[in-house]
């Protein structure tokens, strides 16, 4: 890749749009996962009883649902990202690369 190729790519509005959209999705999902995990750790650090509270009449507790929810969130957020990135974003990238092929 020459400097001219780099400059041409960076000037391409489709390249900038792809970076903006993919970047936004990545940062947004990172923020969601990090915030959820931070909230969990902070609850453990400052308010353990909140997680120990039983759900309804049984022994099953809030903490177990929250914990399993975090595991699901991790898997679901990766699934969302991979779906978008390997689908729409990679199609846009393929178009872009076709036009920028030497």
């Amino acid at each position: 890749m020459t400097d001219a190729d780099v400059a041409r790519m960076m000037a391409d509005p489709r390249y900038r749009a792809l970076l903006r959209q993919r970047g936004r999705l990545g940062w947004m999902l990172s923020a969601i996962v990090t915030a959820a995990y931070a909230a969990f750790i902070l609850t453990i650090a400052f308010d353990k009883p909140a997680l120990a509270r039983p759900l309804g009449a049984g022994v099953n507790s809030v903490g177990i649902v929250v914990g399993l929810g975090l595991i699901l969130l991790s898997v679901a957020s990766t699934a969302v990202y991979v779906h978008r990135a390997n689908g729409a974003f990679d199609r846009a990238l393929a178009d872009l690369l076709r036009d920028h092929a030497a």
């Binding site: 990172s30 650090a45 099953n60 903490g63 914990g67 990766t78 990202y81 990238l93």
Partner: protein, 562 residues
Amino acid sequence: MRRALLSATLLTPLPAGADALAGPAVQQPTNWTAIAMFALFAALTLGITRWAARRTRTAADFYTAGGGITGFQNGLAIAGDYMSAASFLGISAQIFTDGYDGLIYSIGFLVGWPIILFLLAERLRNLGRFTFADVAAFRFAQTPVRLFAASSTLAVVLFYLIAQMVGAGQLIKLLFGLPYGYAVGIVGVLMMLYVLFGGMTATTWVQIVKAVLLLGSATFMAVMVLASFGFSAEALFARAVAVKTDLAAAAGAGDPATAGRSIMGPGNFIKDPVSAISFGMALMFGTAGLPHILMRFFTVPDAKAARTSVLWATGWIGYFYVLTFVIGFGAIVLVATDAGYQDGQGALLGGTNMAAIHLAHAVGGDLFLGFISAVAFATILAVVAGLTLSGASAIGHDLYATVIRKGQADSAAELRVSRRTVVVLAAAAVLLGIVFEKQNVAFMVSLAFAVAASSNFPVLLLSLLWSGCTTRGAVAGGCVGLVASVGLTIVSPTVWVAILGHASAPFPYSSPAIVSMPLAFLTIALVSLMDRSPRAAQDRARYAEQRVRAETGIGAAGAASH
């Protein structure tokens, strides 16, 4: 004293059986079923190694299996690389003892994965060839960045390896009834054979076979446990609470009902909030800085497959932690109530880490007990093989080929150096395993995570995402993070008080990450901002090219054809 020991144990369940160290690891009667099953596994994996050896001709074959692993295979191999015997034995044991607390670890180990995907995976694949240093040093002066990356890689690998070797020796003494030295020797020789001859191809397949065995047998155990409660989690939890209440009453606790219920919420796992946050940071971001994990992204053909592998890995690892949770509660119900698994005083035969192993016997008899013991051994082998390969690549690729030969080494010479390193690392691992036999090395895994989170992760992240980052900034910040995380661990209670025997520790928290990680980021930022050297101008100017390649994959190393 018991509390100190307990907290040291609780902070690090990850290493193969580093936990087993804290409990007494008494040599058990020789278990021939387990040994026969393990011999089968060893024969299978050595067969794979023979096949892989014929496909391992170049440095690319050796480090990355020629880049020809699929996303699905790599996802399984990552899971196999990451789920150590202690994720299985240590976390299920912790759930067996304290209930909910075990889940806190599982979650910490899992949440790093989405972050790796969102911020690193495809950029790593697009920029690197063999090691994470390829990526971190992409636009920087090679020599200083590679020297730093090789040192931090070796630090992480050695700490992790020692914990695994000692854990392996203890565990195998327990499970197979073999002497400690034999166990460490067998692990060392097998891992050396896999990596030396089969390189990444053999390592990947050993990890895949292990992941399938571990996931399969954990699924079987969880299903058997749930089946005996009509597949009702509530019924399982209710019975576990009843068992714990009875045990507390028998032990003469003032309020047995509260003690019984305590397994449903967070307990004593984390005492002070700062340690909780610090530890959480090390777990979450450490995963994104482990060199042997990052290396796995170079084994797939492109960025798309790199992303797919994280999705599979996250799915398998998450599923595995759900299973572990069921297994831990199953052990409360089926093992804690059976005097046959206990000594006279109500303690588990062989120590708390045997909870899952005894449960295997309770649900599947002697044959399944032997099987699960063999799986635990296989698990350690898969992890140490990945670590050794990563260490060898740091010496062969980063130090020899790039720093010493300035990138002019031919593939054969580089391969020769890496293979020699494998032999040296295997010998060192066995030796250190024997030297540290009687030491409590449980802290070494959390140290490995803290070093990864405080040196590799900040350097990698800022070199990828911040155009202003310079060679000096990256090297200074990385070194500060490395020194701070190791130094603060030494003066923390885990080492300063529990091992060195001082009265109180200068650094009061159990994990250094809350200080060392921000310190590394800050150092990189400040040094880079103040860097006026000609090299810095070059570093900044090359960001555009790096960014385009990272985002589009133009010019990325392709898969070697076979």
